[in-house]
């Protein structure tokens, strides 16, 4: 099976990955998600199944930790699938439960008056953050 893993839409507590099946439909492949912990190295955080019939990969993630993750997909016959893709674990749809103020910064605006200099930015986990009197 040739697999294109496509995007990684990540919802609040679980990962769902759409993929397209370009070849013979295999038996449901399995996959693991590993977090690359700076201190302890790769840690498996979830194992699950990619459902060939719905072309979805689903897994429950017990924690929402900003960091680097690797998704490893192991496929069935007739061709071996071992597709690895690293992604940043952000909730693309906004999630206030994450670490406050963390995440990729996707919008910024200076908010300045003669007596103050504030910087306002939006993070990819849905927070709006202010740093007052930024300098």
């Amino acid at each position: 099976m040739a697999t294109n893993l496509g995007d990684f839409p990540l919802t609040d507590a679980h990962l769902e990955v759409g993929f397209t099946d370009e070849g013979t439909t295999p038996s449901d492949p399995s996959f693991t998600i590993q977090r690359l912990d700076p201190a302890s190295g790769p840690t498996t955080v979830s194992e699950g199944t990619a459902f060939a019939n719905t072309q979805l990969i689903k897994a429950g993630l017990t924690t929402t930790i900003i960091g680097s993750y690797t998704v490893r997909l192991y496929g069935g016959a007739p061709r071996v699938v071992d597709y690895t893709r690293r992604f940043e674990m952000y909730d693309p749809s906004g999630d206030s439960s994450g670490e406050n103020g963390a995440g990729r910064i996707i919008a910024v605006q200076a908010f300045e008056k003669p007596e103050v200099r504030h910087l306002v930015w939006q993070t990819s986990n849905g927070d709006l953050v202010v740093r007052k009197n930024a300098s």
């Binding site: 839409p9 406050n100 986990n125």
Partner: protein, 700 residues
Amino acid sequence: MTVIKSGLNTHQPASMAESPDGVLYIANGIDTPLRWDAQTTSAEVAGIAKPASGFQLAGTTSGSIYGKYDAYIRYIDKDGQRGNLSTLSSITITSGAAVTSFAYSAIPTSSGGREVGRELWRTADGTSGRTIYLDATLDDMSTTVHTSERTDSNLILQTSMNLLTSDGYPNANRFGKPPDHMGVVVSYGDRMWYGASVEYRGGMVTTIVGTAVTMHGARLGQTMVDRKFRVAGKLPATIASVDSTTTMTLSTSQATGYGTANHHYAIYKDEDERSRIYFSESGEPESFPLDSDGNHVNVLELQEDGDPEITALMPLYSYLFIFKNRHVYRLSTAGDPRRDASVSLVAERGCLNQRCWCRVEGTAFVWDESGIYIFKGSETQAVSGPVQDYFRGTINWDQKKWFHVQHSADEETVRFFAAFDSDTYPEHALCFNYRLQQWHVEEYPFEIGCSGLATVNGQSRTVVGADHTMTLLGEGVLDGCAESATSRQDSLGDLSSGQVRGTVDSATSTTITDDDADLDFSAWHVEPTDVGAPLYIIDTNGDWQMRRISGISGQVITVQSAFSTTPSAGDTWAIGAIEFEAKFGTFSYLPLEQENVRQLQLRYEQQDNGSTLNLRRYVNHSESPETAEVDLNREDGVQVNAGSANLQCDLTDDTGHLQWRFDDGFEGRGPSERMLEVELKGVSGADKTKIYSLDIDGVE
């Protein structure tokens, strides 16, 4: 840092603009627009709510007041901003049943917003449907009853308000909330303007069964109720309710039939909204009048031109320029856009999104699907010819909503941040020095999600959102880490702790070890592990690979992903280094070798600390650089290994000058090498690399 709002949808970046009265407004076309006045600890919903319910009005005890009376309440905030009137409560009192006072009861108390009080408004006999008067102000949000003994003669001495303007527009109900489906907000002409209707397309449809829709990877919100839902190109349905972040119910089942999996979809307000812009009342940035049906009346719709989608709004000169994908319109107004707005087409160019224009010295640089141009109000001047190849193949247009543009005045440069290839967020910028009329390309080790200008130490500086941090762009000597908050230095100087360059003693696929290194960065302003600074491994041939750091422990540096080649003992490592390269034009060799020495001379500033600089030579349009046949190791710090293309230059050499002769391109009596290109590649160290000149002799 203070988090002033959580849970925003991040399908697209928020647009922010400051009103003339100094309040910041935030819109993304999906969530309810927000305001922040720099005083409150959290952002608030823009606009004051209309009371969700009416109240009861009755006359009490016998007296002299009679007639037909209408009464309303409305909410006010601490600054005196008001909301729209509630539904009216009406009473008709006959002369035979005249009363002494009015009893207001069941007055609504909760709104959930920033409201702190309420106003009670009432007509006098004979002013129903025309004029209302302020009967009382309640300075709390808890009282549910009030008694007023104002007679008509007393009431008409109070503050009055007409329900409609002289030309029939809402007046008392001009305090509607800003539209929540517009993704752009700007300030122009003492009003706030909203435009660029947003289509939400987060995730995919999982199933549609009847009217029930289940999604994955989506975050649906209550503002999406009554918006349109279109899936796989089918005619749209209307969203009746949003039941969770991933489920909703449609008003009809016409979209049924696309219920297997992974269909793309769009949620949007209405097709016509793409060509509309909304504006507030003058001097009232949160007031958007509504008609009796609840529709906004401060709306302008652009003409049909086959290009319906407004993408950006730009105040410039005394105009508001409205960008579509391929058209630019100029809007002017003498003060009342409802009466006198003039909109005219001024250019057949466009703009990618609200962040893809910037003002520069009285003009604007704008980026559209065709390229980059200077906009002068009605004239356009294309400037991106030299980099047009990037637009045809390299740029990932699917992610254009994340592109952005920023002007750096002190560099006299405009940066156009773009996602290349399969990137989602920009990691590159096409950079145009408008004074020198020159382009260069910058690549960053981080995704640059946004950019802006901020005043730092009294000077406007470029800041960018790089992963988890706001970063000053193009300053300092390191990427992803900083020894101190002080920036704009040319050298790190003497470090009290931590070192940024050393020699590998051993390595694995994801780690390197330097037994003698001081890797204690705990006293640094930004440690290399904070955001994952880049780590460069430079081998003895001068080639390198880069990985981002995930951890440092003792003398071991761990990277986020495995090296392509496991480093060897003796390789050089460099934390936070900045890679650069320049390849110059093609030159022809002069034919007479004896009269034309073939050489390259480089003048540079001597460095205190080491860095990497390679010179490479390409001949006859080859895509591969020439490689050395023998080792070379000169006393002036020039070194090349046999088989390597890199002439490595030691910039700590105190001559500040390098000479490289290449008189070897002849066979017989004619030159075998006819064309020459020179490339300069390097990785910076603790000092900024400064090249003063590069001279090539023997070419034309």
